[in-house]
C-alpha cells in the first residue's frame, strides 16, 4: 500500500512538473506527445545549453524502476485535463514530506526549466543585425557604415541629428526615458515593461525573475543511504595536519644559502658603466691602482672660436684687434678667430711647429711630483671660543681720566674696597685719587722718580708703600675714621730712631727710619728698589732690588719693623716677587724663570720655565694655581701650576714690550698692558674641576693712551670689586675703563 501511495505521489509530482514545463513551452504541450518522446526533445533543448545534464538524468532513470517512469507518463496524460490548481497543493505536500525519491525528478524538471528560460531569453532578443562581431566600434568611427548585415551588405549609419534637435525631440517624447541607444546596431531601443521590471529587480539586488525563490529549502542532492560505493568515507589523512617535511627542508636550504651569502636579497644597483671621457684621468688612475702616475697635462681642447667658420660673436672687431697690439705679449690672445667660407680656403697654420714645440715643452717640463694639498678651511682650524657677548662684563670704554701728574705714571694701586687709587709717577709724586670722581685727594712729593706704589691689602689700614730710588716709604693716607687713624699712627711710629735690624749681618741691608716729612716710615736700602709687594695679611711686604745680587729680595715686617733676607739662593736677575694669595708660597721671577718657594719649609717647590727672553711682570690668579707672566718681547704666558712647568698658553698679541699683567680678584678677567699704548683684556676662566683646562678668550683691546718717549701704558690694575681696569700711561694720564 505504501509503495502504491508513493508511486501516486510521485506521479502527481511529475505531472505538476511537466505541466509547468508545458506552460512555459506551449508549443510542446500543444503537441501533447508521449513522455518518452518528450524527454529526448527536452534533452535536445538542454543539450545546447548544458550537455552534462542529460547523462545523469539518463543514468538516474535507469536506476529507477522503469515502470514507475512509465506510470508517470501515463498519469501525465491522464491528469492533463484535471488542471494545475490541485496539483500544486500536492507538490507542496510532497516537498514537505522531504522524500528523496523525488529529488532526481525535481532536479530534472528544474534543469529543464532553466534550459527553457535561457532559450526563452535568447528568443526575446532580436538577432543581431550587425555582423562585425566583437570589434571596437571606433574602427568604424570615420566610416559611413557601421558594419555588415547577414548578407554582407553595408549597414549605413543613420543620419546624425544635431544636439539641439535631438534634445528637443527627447523633451517632447514622453517615453524618451525608456529609450536606450544601441551603439552596436546604431539604433534606439525602447525598453519594454517586462525588461523594465527586470532592471528594477536587478537594481534592488534581487533575482531577475520574480518567480525565482532564492530562499528555497535546501535539498540534498546526494543519496547517501543507497550508494553502494560512497564517494569517500575515509578519514582526513594525517598529512593534512602536520607540516610538510620537504617544505621545511627547502626553507632550511634557503636560509642557509642566505646566511652563507649565496643569495643576496638587497642587491646594490649596478653603477652606470659609462665614464667621463673628458674628465681628469689622474684621479681615476690613482683610484685604480694607487700608483703615483702623473699623466701628461692635456692640451686645451678647441672651442667654438677655433672653428673655421665661427659665429659672428667670436669674431673680434677691428678695434679689438688693434687693442690687442697694445696689450702685453703674454696677455695677448694666442688665436684670433677668423671666418672662412669653406675648408678649402683655410691657409696653413703658421704656428704649427711652434705649438708642437710648446706642447713638447709642456710634456717635458710638467711636474712629476704630486703636490699634496690639503684642503682645509682655515676657519675650522680656529679654536671654538665662546662669544664675547656671553662673557660680559668686562672693561670696554674709558669714562674717567685721572689727570694731574706731569710725567709718566709708572705704577698704580687700588685700595681694597675700590674707593681710592694711588699712583706713582716719574715726576716724583705719589697721588691719591678718588676713584668715583677723579678727584686728587693727596699728593706727596719726593726727590726721585717714584718706581712703585702698593696699597696695603687690608681695608682697615689705608697705607701705601712707595718705592723711590733706594728707599721705600710707608705713607699714611689719612683716610678712614679716627680710630683707624689712631691705629695707623701707632703702627707707623717707632721709638728707636735708627734700628739696624740685621744684627747678624755686618752690612746693613735695610734701615728703618721715621719720616716726619711724609708722616710715615722710610726704609733705606743699599740698592734701587724696583717693586714692593704686600702679603695678603698686610703685615709683611717684600721688596726687590734687581742689582742686589744675593740680597736682592727682602721681606719686611711692618709691625715689628723687622727685615729678613729670603733663605733661598737666587739664580739670575730677579724681576719681581709675589706672595701666594692663600698659601705660604713665595714667587720670585727672574729674567728667564719663575720659582715658587715654600716659606715654611724653606725650599723650592716649582720652577716654571717661561722660555721668554726677559720677564717683565707676573701676576697670580686669586685661586693661586695659575700664573701669568708678561715678557719684554710682547708675549704673555699662562702657567697652570698643576699642569706642567711649561706654559699652558702663550699669547703673542702685543707688538711691543708688555709692561704689566694683572688678574682680577673676583671676575674671570686678566689684562696685559704694553708699550704699544694698548691694554688687552682677556677672559681667563679657571675651573674648579681639575680635568678642565683654563679657558682663555681675548675680549677687548683698550686704546686711548698716547705714546711718550717710546713708552705706552706703564701699568694696569683691575678694580677689586668691579670689572673695571685702570691703566697708567706714559702720557701722565690714568684711565678708567668701565664695562
Amino acid at each position: 500500500m505504501k509503495i502504491k501511495e508513493e508511486k501516486k505521489k510521485r506521479q502527481s509530482v511529475r505531472n505538476s512538473k511537466s505541466e509547468e514545463v508545458e506552460e512555459e513551452q506551449p508549443s510542446i504541450t500543444e503537441q501533447n506527445k508521449l513522455k518518452q518522446k518528450q524527454l529526448p526533445s527536452h534533452s535536445d533543448s538542454d543539450s545546447d545549453s548544458d550537455p552534462d545534464y542529460g547523462s545523469p538524468y539518463v543514468s538516474d532513470s535507469e536506476d529507477f524502476s522503469e515502470d514507475g517512469d512509465f506510470d508517470g507518463s501515463l498519469s501525465d496524460s491522464e491528469a492533463e485535463g484535471s488542471g494545475s490548481s490541485g496539483d500544486e497543493g500536492v507538490v507542496d505536500s510532497d516537498v514537505d514530506d522531504g522524500l528523496h525519491n523525488d529529488q532526481e525528478n525535481q532536479s530534472n524538471s528544474s534543469e529543464s526549466h532553466q534550459g527553457v528560460e535561457e532559450s526563452d531569453s535568447s528568443e526575446d532578443e532580436v538577432a543581431p543585425r550587425n555582423t562585425v562581431g566583437d570589434v571596437p566600434l571606433e574602427w568604424y568611427k570615420d566610416e559611413e557604415h557601421i558594419g555588415y548585415d547577414l548578407n554582407g551588405k553595408k549597414i549605413k549609419k543613420r543620419t546624425r541629428k544635431d544636439k539641439v534637435e535631438s534634445f528637443l525631440e527627447s523633451a517632447d517624447d514622453a517615453k524618451n526615458w525608456l529609450k536606450v541607444y544601441d551603439e552596436y546596431n546604431d539604433e534606439e531601443v525602447e525598453v519594454t515593461k517586462k525588461e523594465l521590471k527586470l532592471i528594477n529587480r536587478l537594481l534592488k539586488g534581487k533575482a531577475p525573475h520574480s518567480d525565482f525563490d532564492p530562499y528555497a529549502p535546501y535539498v540534498d542532492w546526494f543519496k547517501w543511504d543507497d550508494a553502494k560505493h560512497p564517494l569517500s568515507n575515509a578519514p582526513e589523512p594525517k598529512r593534512r595536519f602536520i607540516p610538510s617535511k620537504w617544505e621545511s627542508k627547502k626553507v632550511v636550504k634557503l636560509v642557509r644559502a642566505i646566511r652563507m651569502g649565496l643569495i643576496k636579497r638587497d642587491k646594490p644597483k649596478e653603477e652606470q658603466q659609462f665614464y667621463h671621457l673628458w674628465g681628469d684621468d689622474s684621479s681615476s688612475t690613482e683610484k685604480a691602482n694607487h700608483l703615483s702616475f702623473i699623466p701628461a697635462p692635456k692640451s686645451k681642447l678647441p672651442g667654438h672660436e677655433e672653428s673655421y667658420n665661427p659665429s659672428l660673436e667670436y669674431i673680434p672687431t677691428q678695434e679689438e684687434i688693434n687693442s690687442y697690439q697694445l696689450m702685453f705679449e703674454e696677455d695677448r690672445p694666442k688665436f684670433i678667430p677668423r671666418r672662412y667660407t669653406s675648408l678649402r680656403s683655410i691657409p696653413a697654420y703658421d704656428n704649427a711647429v711652434k705649438d708642437v714645440f710648446e706642447r713638447c715643452l709642456d710634456l717635458y717640463l710638467c711636474p712629476r711630483v704630486r703636490k699634496k694639498r690639503i684642503n682645509i678651511d682655515p676657519e675650522s682650524l680656529k679654536p671654538k671660543l665662546p662669544s664675547r657677548r656671553d662673557l660680559k662684563p668686562y672693561p670696554v670704554t674709558c669714562y674717567l681720566e685721572y689727570k694731574g701728574h706731569t710725567d709718566a705714571v709708572v705704577s698704580i694701586s687700588i685700595e681694597a674696597s675700590g674707593q681710592w687709587l694711588a699712583s706713582g709717577s716719574l715726576d716724583g709724586t705719589v697721588r691719591i685719587w678718588e676713584v668715583e670722581t677723579g678727584r686728587c685727594l693727596r699728593v706727596w712729593e719726593f726727590e726721585e722718580p717714584v718706581k712703585f706704589v702698593a696699597w696695603n691689602p687690608l681695608r682697615e689700614i689705608p697705607i701705601v708703600a712707595v718705592s723711590v730710588g733706594q728707599e721705600v716709604f710707608i705713607l699714611n693716607t689719612g683716610l678712614g675714621d679716627e680710630e683707624e687713624q689712631k691705629k695707623i699712627k701707632e703702627l707707623l711710629h717707632f721709638e728707636t730712631p735708627v734700628a739696624p735690624d740685621d744684627s747678624g749681618d755686618k752690612v746693613s741691608v735695610a734701615s728703618w727710619h721715621q719720616d716726619d716729612k711724609h708722616e710715615g716710615i722710610r726704609l733705606r736700602h743699599f740698592k734701587t728698589v724696583s717693586s714692593v709687594e704686600w702679603h695678603r695679611k698686610g703685615d709683611y711686604f717684600s721688596i726687590v732690588m734687581p742689582a742686589g745680587e744675593s740680597r736682592a729680595v727682602l721681606i719686611h715686617q711692618l709691625s715689628k719693623k723687622h727685615t729678613q733676607r729670603i733663605p733661598f739662593k737666587l739664580r739670575g736677575l730677579p724681576v719681581s716677587s709675589l706672595f701666594h694669595p692663600t698659601k705660604k708660597i713665595f714667587f720670585i721671577s727672574t729674567k728667564k724663570n719663575v720659582r715658587a718657594y715654600d716659606l715654611q719649609k724653606q725650599k723650592l717647590i716649582k720652577k716654571l720655565e717661561t722660555g721668554l727672553r726677559e720677564v717683565s711682570s707676573i701676576s697670580v690668579h686669586p685661586g693661586g694655581d695659575n700664573i701669568i707672566v708678561g715678557s719684554r718681547e710682547g708675549k704673555l704666558c699662562w702657567f697652570d701650576m698643576d699642569l706642567s712647568s711649561k706654559p699652558y698658553r702663550i699669547l703673542k698679541c702685543h707688538p711691543k714690550d708688555i709692561t704689566n699683567v694683572a688678574f682680577h680678584r673676583s671676575y674671570p678677567l686678566f689684562a696685559s698692558c704694553s708699550d704699544d699704548c694698548t691694554a688687552y683684556v682677556f677672559h681667563g676662566m679657571v675651573y674648579s674641576d681639575l680635568n678642565q683646562n683654563p679657558l682663555i678668550v681675548p675680549l677687548e683691546i683698550l686704546r686711548g693712551h698716547t705714546s711718550s718717549n717710546g713708552r705706552g701704558v706703564m701699568d694696569c690694575k683691575f678694580h677689586p670689586r668691579q670689572p673695571w681696569l685702570f691703566t697708567a700711561g706714559a702720557d701722565s694720564v690714568i684711565k678708567l675703563y668701565c664695562h
Binding site: 678712614g480 675714621d481 668691579q722 668701565c738 664695562h739
Partner: protein, 446 residues
C-alpha cells in the same frame, strides 16, 4: 618756474590737524581742523599756533610750544613722525600743544673754592651746597652766601635739607668722607652781608667708612645715610637732650670759638644688605627707603622693620637715584655708563627699565625728578652736560653745556621751579688748584 612751484606744492603732502590744548583761554586756538604741510617740524608748528593765537588776540607775544601726538612729543618733521609711529595721515590728527619747557636764563655762578660735591634746592628760600673744602654753604641767591657750615674734617659728600613741620629754623644734614654726618640749624631771616659761620648741633657717628649720601624723611624726624661700608643707617634728627641714647658732650675748642654744646648721636637702626658702597639713598615716603649701590642693585627697604622689601638689579654701578614721576613711583638711576635708566617697580616680573635715555657720553653723576611734573627730570654727567628730559620723548628737552668739566650734582628745586647744578673744574696741580663752581638758575614757566 611756475611748474617747479607746483611740484613743490605737490611734494609736500598735507595733513588735516586739529590743535587742542589744556592751556588757559588766551592761549587757545579755535578747534577747527586745518590742513598743514606734513613736512612741518616743531618750530613750524609753533609759529603756526602762535599765528593762530595772534589772529584772535593781536597783542599776543610769541612763545614756543611743544606738541604731543598720542602722548609723545614731536621731535621730527610731522610726516616722519607719522611714518615712524604708523599713524594714518588720512584722519584728522589731534595735536595737543603745551608750553615748551626750556631753560631760560643762566644766573650768575656762585663761586666756591673747591669742587662742589652736592647741592640741595628743595627749600624755596635757599640752596645748600656741599663742597670739597669740607664746608657746606647756604646761598640765598646767586652768589649771595648767607651761612657757612664748618666742622667736617673731610670732603662733604652730600647735603640734605630736613623739612620739619612746625619748626621755624632750618635743619640741614651733611654727610662727609670723615665718616660722620652733621646736623645744622640756622635761620634764614637775618640778613647780614658777611656769611655767618655756624657749627653743627649734632654729630652722627657710626659709619666705618666715608659717608656717601644722606636723605631726610619727609616729616623731618629721621635721616638715613649710605656709606662706603655698604650700610644704610637711620638717625634721629631731634636735638632734645632728654633722649636717653644720646650722649651730650661739652666740647671746648682750642681756638677762639665760644663754648658750644654738640650732641653726638648714634644710629637708630642699620639696614644691611648691600655688598658695596651705598651711593645714593632716597626717602620719599614715610615707610620706604630706596637705595642704590655699587653692587649694581637698587633696594627698597621698609623703614619700620629694616627689611629689604625688593631689589632691582642693573648691570652697572649706580651713582645716583631718585624717585618721582607718575604717582611718585618711577625710579630713575644713573651710574657708570652714559645711560639714564628709569624703572617702574609696580611692573611685575621684569627688572628691565621702562625708559632709557642715552644722550650723555660719560658717567651720570646725578639725576633728579621734577617735583611737580610727572614727565620731567634732570640728569648731570661727567661729560659736563646737564640734560633736561621729558619721558614723552627720547631726546633731551634741553642740554646745558656751560660747564667745562665734570658735573657732580644737579637738582631741580621745587618752588622756584629752577634747577641748579654745580660742577668742578680740576687743575693739574692740586696744591694751587683753581676750583670753582657755578650755579645756574633756569626759570621755566609752568
Amino acid at each position: 618756474m611756475d611748474i617747479d612751484g607746483v611740484n613743490e606744492e605737490e611734494n609736500s603732502r598735507r595733513v588735516q590737524v586739529r590743535f587742542v590744548t589744556k592751556l588757559k583761554p588766551p592761549m587757545t586756538v579755535p578747534p577747527l581742523p586745518i590742513a598743514i604741510p606734513s613736512n612741518l617740524t616743531r618750530l613750524g608748528l609753533s609759529t603756526l599756533v602762535n599765528n593762530l593765537i595772534q589772529n584772535g588776540n593781536p597783542d599776543w607775544n610769541t612763545q614756543p610750544f611743544d606738541f604731543l601726538i598720542d602722548g609723545e612729543l614731536v621731535r621730527m618733521s610731522l610726516d616722519k613722525f607719522l611714518l615712524a609711529k604708523s599713524i594714518s595721515a588720512e584722519k584728522i590728527l589731534e595735536i595737543e600743544y603745551i608750553k615748551a619747557v626750556a631753560p631760560r636764563k643762566e644766573e650768575e655762578p656762585s663761586l666756591h673754592d673747591d669742587w662742589v660735591s652736592s647741592v640741595d634746592g628743595s627749600d624755596p628760600r635757599f640752596i645748600v651746597t656741599g663742597c670739597y673744602d669740607s664746608l657746606a654753604r647756604v646761598w640765598k641767591a646767586a652768589g649771595e652766601c648767607t651761612h657757612i657750615l664748618e666742622g667736617h674734617s673731610d670732603v662733604i659728600a652730600s647735603v640734605g635739607v630736613i623739612n620739619r613741620k612746625g619748626v621755624e629754623g632750618i635743619t640741614v644734614a651733611t654727610a662727609s668722607k670723615d665718616c660722620t654726618l652733621r646736623l645744622w640749624k640756622f635761620d634764614t631771616e637775618d640778613s647780614i652781608n658777611d656769611p655767618i659761620r655756624i657749627r653743627a648741633f649734632k654729630i652722627l657717628r657710626g659709619h666705618a667708612k666715608s659717608v656717601q649720601c644722606v636723605a631726610a624723611q619727609n616729616t623731618g624726624d629721621m635721616v638715613c645715610s649710605g656709606s662706603w661700608d655698604s650700610m644704610i643707617k637711620l638717625w634721629q634728627t631731634n636735638d632734645s637732650q632728654s633722649d636717653g641714647d644720646l650722649v651730650s658732650i661739652k666740647k671746648r675748642k682750642g681756638n677762639d670759638q665760644a663754648d658750644e654744646s654738640q650732641l653726638e648721636g648714634e644710629a637708630v637702626s642699620t639696614l644691611v644688605g648691600h655688598t658695596q658702597c651705598v651711593s645714593s639713598v632716597v626717602w620719599p615716603q614715610q615707610e620706604t627707603i630706596y637705595s642704590a649701590s655699587w653692587d649694581h642693585s637698587i633696594r627698597l627697604w621698609d623703614a619700620e622693620t629694616g627689611k629689604n622689601s625688593s631689589d632691582i638689579f642693573c648691570t652697572k654701578v649706580l651713582n645716583c637715584l631718585d624717585v618721582g614721576g607718575e604717582s611718585s613711583a618711577l625710579i630713575a638711576a644713573g651710574g657708570s655708563d652714559p645711560i639714564l635708566r628709569i624703572w617702574d617697580p609696580r611692573k611685575p616680573g621684569t627688572s628691565a627699565p621702562v625708559f632709557q635715555f642715552s644722550s650723555h657720553t660719560s658717567w651720570i653723576s646725578a639725576c633728579k625728578w621734577h617735583d611737580k611734573s610727572w614727565f620731567h627730570l634732570v640728569s648731570s654727567s661727567y661729560d659736563g652736560k646737564v640734560m633736561l628730559w621729558d619721558l614723552r620723548t627720547a631726546w633731551p628737552l634741553a642740554v646745558i653745556e656751560s660747564h667745562k668739566d665734570k658735573v657732580l650734582c644737579a637738582d631741580c628745586s621745587a618752588f622756584l621751579l629752577e634747577f641748579l647744578c654745580c660742577e668742578c673744574q680740576s687743575h693739574l696741580n692740586y696744591s694751587d688748584n683753581l676750583m670753582w663752581s657755578s650755579q645756574h638758575k633756569v626759570q621755566y614757566l609752568h
